[in-house]
């Protein structure tokens, strides 16, 4: 018997590293993930060029569009882990870890941190690619945007992992992720600001945490840091992250795989 004990920080670090290796050895997932925001930027954003910028709160089309796209990308970056979890249930990997003293929450953190970090790196690349399209980078604002949305990615990641572990079935996981993705991102105004819509839509959006993320990201990406939207965005996103992490670690704790 080994009498040493690993700390939660060590465990989270080792398991993040494991997940990162996994992704780097299958880079096609990184490229296909990044393709989504870039395709939106190239093939969708131009459709909006004739809309008066007053409707976007005076922002240029690209400046309005990129932050919303990053929120879509955040969802995309976090959602995939549920599939991995189910695969690892099938191959016995999760069971093997569950019989060791490793903390259940560390298993979850490895994926959450990996997904958050990869989001930051890939989103930064997307922003750089957006520069020739007219995207203006405000360094501190962008840094905060990426931080906020990395936490949102982590929220999606924890949720996807927990759903995967709870349902143990790829079809059921796909159905539940898909059924969340469109309503959450559309009702957040990720593509076009919700403020353009009728009252009922604007009211409804306030029940969607992604809405606050989009609003905050738009302010931040334009360099407006001390706004109510930004404050609300951080408050809501961090609160939802805490909830998702708590719920997911409970699922990991109890999982009978």
């Amino acid at each position: 018997m080994i009498t040493k004990e690993s700390s939660i920080v060590t465990e989270a670090f080792l398991l993040t590293q494991r997940r990162a290796k996994e992704l780097l050895r299958e880079p096609q997932w990184i490229f296909s993930g990044m393709a989504t925001p870039i395709l939106y930027l190239v093939l969708f954003a131009p459709l909006l060029t004739n809309i008066p910028s007053a409707l976007f709160g005076g922002l240029s089309v690209v400046q309005m569009f990129v932050p919303g796209m990053l929120v879509l990308f955040a969802f995309g970056s976090g959602q995939g882990i549920g599939w991995t979890v189910i695969h690892e249930l099938d191959t016995g990997v999760i069971e093997r870890f569950r019989v060791t003293p490793v903390r259940r929450v560390s298993l979850l953190l490895g994926s959450v941190i990996r997904d958050g970090l990869f989001f930051i790196v890939c989103a930064l690349i997307v922003c750089l690619i957006a520069i020739p399209f007219g995207f203006v980078i405000h360094p501190s604002g962008l840094a905060l945007t990426l931080l906020l949305l990395a936490v949102l990615t982590g929220t999606v990641s924890a949720t996807s992992a927990a759903i995967g572990l709870a349902l143990k079935n790829i079809g059921a996981l796909a159905a539940s992720i898909m059924s969340m993705q469109l309503p959450l991102t559309l009702l957040a105004g990720a593509l076009l600001p919700i403020s353009m819509g009728p009252t009922w839509l604007r009211v409804l959006a306030h029940f969607n945490p992604f809405y606050y993320a989009v609003e905050a990201a738009r302010d931040l990406a334009s360099g407006h840091i001390l706004t109510v939207n930004v404050g609300l965005g951080f408050l809501v996103v961090f609160a939802v992250f805490a909830l998702a992490l708590t719920w997911a670690s409970r699922v990991f704790q109890k999982a009978v795989a």
Binding site: M1, I2, L15, R25, G92, E95, R96, R98, V99
Partner: protein, 300 residues
């Protein structure tokens, strides 16, 4: 033996019970008191007894996978748990390895309670499930072992040493830096067992370890088990290969329908049933003959 202090037990199980809810469609068939099979006319073939129908409680239908068993496994033994599919072997093993909570009863592994001292139990056991558990997604054998060792709290250098030892011991050194997805079934099984040994467990659980292995790899696995036993590790394995139990086990328990219907050394069991092989013992005991009479036990 004149030893007055009883040897500490590696595994101690008392009245262990596990029920699972079952989802049924339509009415649950009631057990018929006059089972036509008892006349022998339409009896199930030996070894394939009829499955009892789910029982009913106020909370719905349930099946009893493990019905209040007792087990004592002394330290340093190889203990084989035999039984047909669905007998409750794996469920018992999963309770003993903290993967599944028991419905009632107690179980201690390496002196720790599997319900209230899970962390201590996990520090003392190794487990190799039917599924294996090797990380197959672009990880090498060495990476698998090093990560596992580091998660047990070893520093990087010590983890590398431990991994190298295990690779050597399981004859995997030549494959150490290949991705595990390229391993053959036997090689992967050896890595699975090596992964179960990373934490230097005092009790190792192997769930049907030789299923799917060719004869050569089975022999190889048997050698590994013998070596572990020689090093003082208690090995608890489930199997439905009876020659495996015969070849390896100090003690055997035969389980059927959630109950232990016989136990003893392979030799005792054979003597009691007048059989020459454990296969005969198994068929005699799990067939309908014994089931309809009182189940008996052979004690050492």
């Amino acid at each position: 033996m004149l030893d007055s202090t009883p040897a500490p037990l590696a595994i101690e199980v008392r009245g262990l019970k596990k029920t699972f809810p079952v989802r049924t469609r339509g009415a649950v068939p009631k057990p018929t008191p006059a089972d036509p099979g008892q006349d022998g006319a339409s009896a199930s073939p030996p070894g394939q007894p009829p499955t009892p129908p789910p029982k009913q409680s106020r909370r719905g239908a349930f099946v009893e996978a493990v019905s209040g068993i007792d087990l004592d496994v002394p330290h340093g033994q190889v203990f084989a748990f035999l039984g047909p599919n669905g007998a409750g072997k794996t469920t018992t093993l999963r309770i003993l390895t903290t993967l599944l909570p028991a419905t009632s009863g107690t179980a201690k592994v390496a002196g720790f309670d599997v319900t209230t001292q899970q962390r201590q139990v996990r520090r003392n056991i190794g487990y190799v499930g039917q599924l294996g558990g090797t990380d197959l997604d672009h990880a090498t054998g060495r990476e698998n072992l090093v990560l596992a060792a580091r998660l047990y709290g070893l520093r990087k250098r010590d983890a590398l040493t431990r991994a190298a030892e295990l690779l050597e011991g399981f004859d995997l050194t030549a494959l150490a830096d290949q991705e595990t997805s390229t391993y053959s079934g036997g090689q992967r099984r050896r890595l699975d067992v090596a992964l179960g040994m990373v934490g230097q467990p005092s009790v190792l659980f192997l769930d049907e370890p030789s299923t799917g292995l060719d004869p050569q790899n089975r022999m190889n696995l048997w050698d590994q088990v013998r070596r572990l036993r020689a090093a003082g590790t208690t090995v608890f394995l489930t199997t439905h290969y009876l020659d495996e139990a015969d070849a390896l086990a100090d003690n055997v328990a035969i389980m059927d329908h959630g109950q232990i219907i016989a136990r003893g050394t392979p030799a005792e069991l054979k003597a009691r049933t007048g059989s020459t092989t454990l296969d005969d013992v198994f068929l005699t005991l799990t067939g309908r003959v014994l089931r309809d009479t009182e189940s008996q036990e052979v004690r050492s």
